[in-house]
């Protein structure tokens, strides 16, 4: 606390999130990563403007071309430009990553809050169900769900969200448990606040920091999970470009056209790497023991 007071006297930001932001910004690697990620997002969002090629248009005379000035990532067996397909494919992969984690957070936040706040029977029944989900092998569970529900992108998102539920609800429950015992929660209760009010206005803000870290890391995990599913032939159907599906396609041409598999995989790795770096930096920024 004295530290916060000092900065206040010097007229610098004092709020927890301002301090966190300050610490995050001072991490140059993470800041650089964030800029790269934003650039990639822009390129993916404005794919039609960013590339002159149609990702679906066959162009047989230009098939199987190695990377060149016209096609920086080369072309595939149908003559489609791989860079364009990577950009358009990013729409699917990022959608899967963000939406599935978003869905998981929306479902698991109330579950974790209720389990941690009320304890007892509610806690036991919710967490045992989560243990049960956790006992299933994640990817096999997702593959199975997608094949049961039908192979399309919505079901891929649902399946990935489903098997991420335990991770998120466990984290939220754990933090709720510790915040519940804090004096300010007791004070709020003494002032007559109801359970719902305490959960959402007093506990949830405390959960938010670690939750943002886990969400960042979760998105990168979900992108890989989504790509894994389409790598195995589930999820989006060809000719729709998707990173995992492009890799699966390139796998058969490793001997002769290496670029078909190398570039989509490199893109996934880069996105996942940046998200992990940002997640790590956020964790450090939120950790009061780590100095800026």
């Amino acid at each position: 606390m004295p530290e916060a007071k000092l900065t206040a006297e010097r007229g610098r930001p004092t709020g927890l999130y301002q301090l966190v932001l300050l610490k995050f910004v001072s991490n140059r690697v993470a800041l650089f990563g964030l800029c790269c990620l934003l650039l990639m997002l822009l390129a993916i969002m404005f794919a039609p403007q960013a590339t002159p090629y149609d990702p679906l248009q066959k162009n047989t005379p230009e098939r199987n071309q190695p990377p060149s000035r016209e096609h920086p990532f080369g072309t595939d067996k149908l003559g489609r430009d791989i860079l364009s397909r990577v950009l358009y494919g990013g729409r699917v992969s990022l959608q899967v990553g963000f939406l599935s984690v978003g869905l998981a957070v929306i479902v698991s936040a109330p579950l974790g809050l209720i389990a941690g706040f009320f304890g007892g029977l509610a806690d036991n029944s919710i967490m045992r169900v989560m243990d049960l989900i956790l006992a299933f092998p994640g990817l096999i569970l997702a593959i199975w769900l997608v094949s049961l529900l039908g192979s399309n992108i919505n079901n891929v998102i649902i399946a990935i969200a489903f098997f991420s539920l335990p991770t998120f609800s466990r984290l939220i429950r754990g933090i709720t448990l510790s915040i519940r015992e804090m004096e300010y929660v007791m004070a709020a209760r003494g002032m007559g606040a109801g359970s719902l009010r305490i959960m959402f206005f007093h506990i949830l803000p405390g959960v938010l920091g670690p939750l943002i870290v886990l969400t960042t890391l979760g998105v990168s995990g979900a992108i890989v999970a989504g790509a894994s599913l389409s790598f195995l032939g589930l999820g989006v159907r060809p000719p729709t470009p998707e990173w995992g599906a492009m890799l699966a396609d390139g796998r058969n041409y490793l001997r002769t056209q290496w670029w078909i598999a190398v570039f989509p995989g490199m893109t996934i790795t880069l996105v996942v790497l940046i998200l992990n770096i940002i997640g790590d930096a956020l964790r450090d920024a939120l950790d009061p023991n780590v100095r800026a």
């Binding site: 299933f136 049961l148 195995l232 995992g244 598999a261 790497l273």
Partner: protein, 307 residues
């Protein structure tokens, strides 16, 4: 202590029972369409479908089917695979050694490398050694297995021609799959070891050991490492449990006939008894591995309360 272990075992069994129930419900109730129809194929006559239905007991009430299923499961009978026309348990028993070998080799290699990197980066905290370590581990941590596997094939099988692309005939076939999984594992362990070690190194008992005049190496290995290992054990256990059922991608890239590939093939062939058996066994081994980890944990960390 024994009471704690018994309690843990008592929790594990209902979990396995719940897993089998969920698998049963998902296959019999939630499944779109008639399983007998799917198993018989598109060209089967109504008589053939009826025969399959009766043979698999699908004509009986669901609750009765469930109890028959549980009884058979308890007796080790998981039914017959539709595709292999063999008992499911036998088919899985043939695939399991590949998965177990792959899992234990890659976890062993990855954990060893990860521990070494983790300890070195923690000791040389905030130096260039640490920085290189952090960059390398976050990179290794981020490479998806399917791409790493393909790149290793591209370099070592297609380019250098020193290792086979696919199959499971000799130890050489295991080198690339083990490397693929060990990279991620080593990064995970290195990150964990580093942060755990840094925490331990600032503990009072480490300072005491140093003040006593003990050698640096001795403080590190005798006093610090032991406590660093406690969280590492949990994660190693989770990795073993996860890989036993989750090495699907690696097994499929390298054509290793393990359990993960068996499960995927069964799902795409709609071989229901096989899916059921594979998922139950994988989940059961995951629960079992976690149980063992919990027990080891109690032995290693005396701070755990057994109540």
């Amino acid at each position: 202590m024994s009471q704690y272990i018994l309690r843990r075992i008592a929790i594990a069994f209902p979990l396995i029972l719940a897993v089998t129930t969920v698998v049963f419900v998902m296959l019999r109730v939630a499944l779109p369409g008639d399983p007998a129809q799917v198993m018989a194929g598109d060209r089967a006559s109504p008589e053939q479908i009826e025969l399959i239905r009766r043979k698999l007991g699908f004509d009986r009430p669901v609750l009765e089917q469930y109890f028959i299923f549980l009884r058979n499961f308890a007796g080790g009978d998981l039914g017959r695979s539709v595709k292999f026309r063999e008992p499911v348990l036998g088919v899985i028993a043939k695939a399991f050694p590949f998965t177990v070998t792959l899992t234990f080799l890659s976890v062993a290699v990855g954990t060893t490398i990860g521990l070494v990197i983790g300890i070195i980066t923690a000791v040389y905290q905030r130096t260039w050694v640490d920085n290189i370590g952090i960059v390398l581990t976050v990179f290794f941590f981020s490479i998806p297995t399917f791409w790493l596997g393909l790149m290793l094939i591209l370099i070592f099988s297609v380019g250098l021609r020193v290792l086979p692309v696919q199959g499971a005939g000799s130890w050489r076939h295991f080198v690339l799959p083990v490397a693929t999984l060990a990279v991620g594992q080593s990064a995970l362990i290195a990150r964990l070891t580093r942060s755990s070690m840094i925490e331990v190194l600032s503990a009072d008992y480490v300072r005491t050991a140093r003040a006593k005049g003990l050698a640096h190496r001795q403080v590190l290995l005798r006093h610090a490492l032991r406590n660093t290992l406690i969280p590492v054990i949990t994660v190693v256990g989770l990795s073993v449990g996860g890989l036993l059922g989750g090495a699907v991608i690696t097994e499929s890239i390298f054509g290793l006939p393990g359990v993960g590939r068996l499960a995927i093939d069964a799902i795409s062939n709609r071989d229901y008894p096989m899916i059921q058996g594979a998922v139950i066994l994988v989940a059961a081994s995951f629960v079992f591995v976690n149980l063992i980890v919990d027990i080891i944990y109690a032995f290693v960390d005396p701070r755990i309360r057994y109540a």
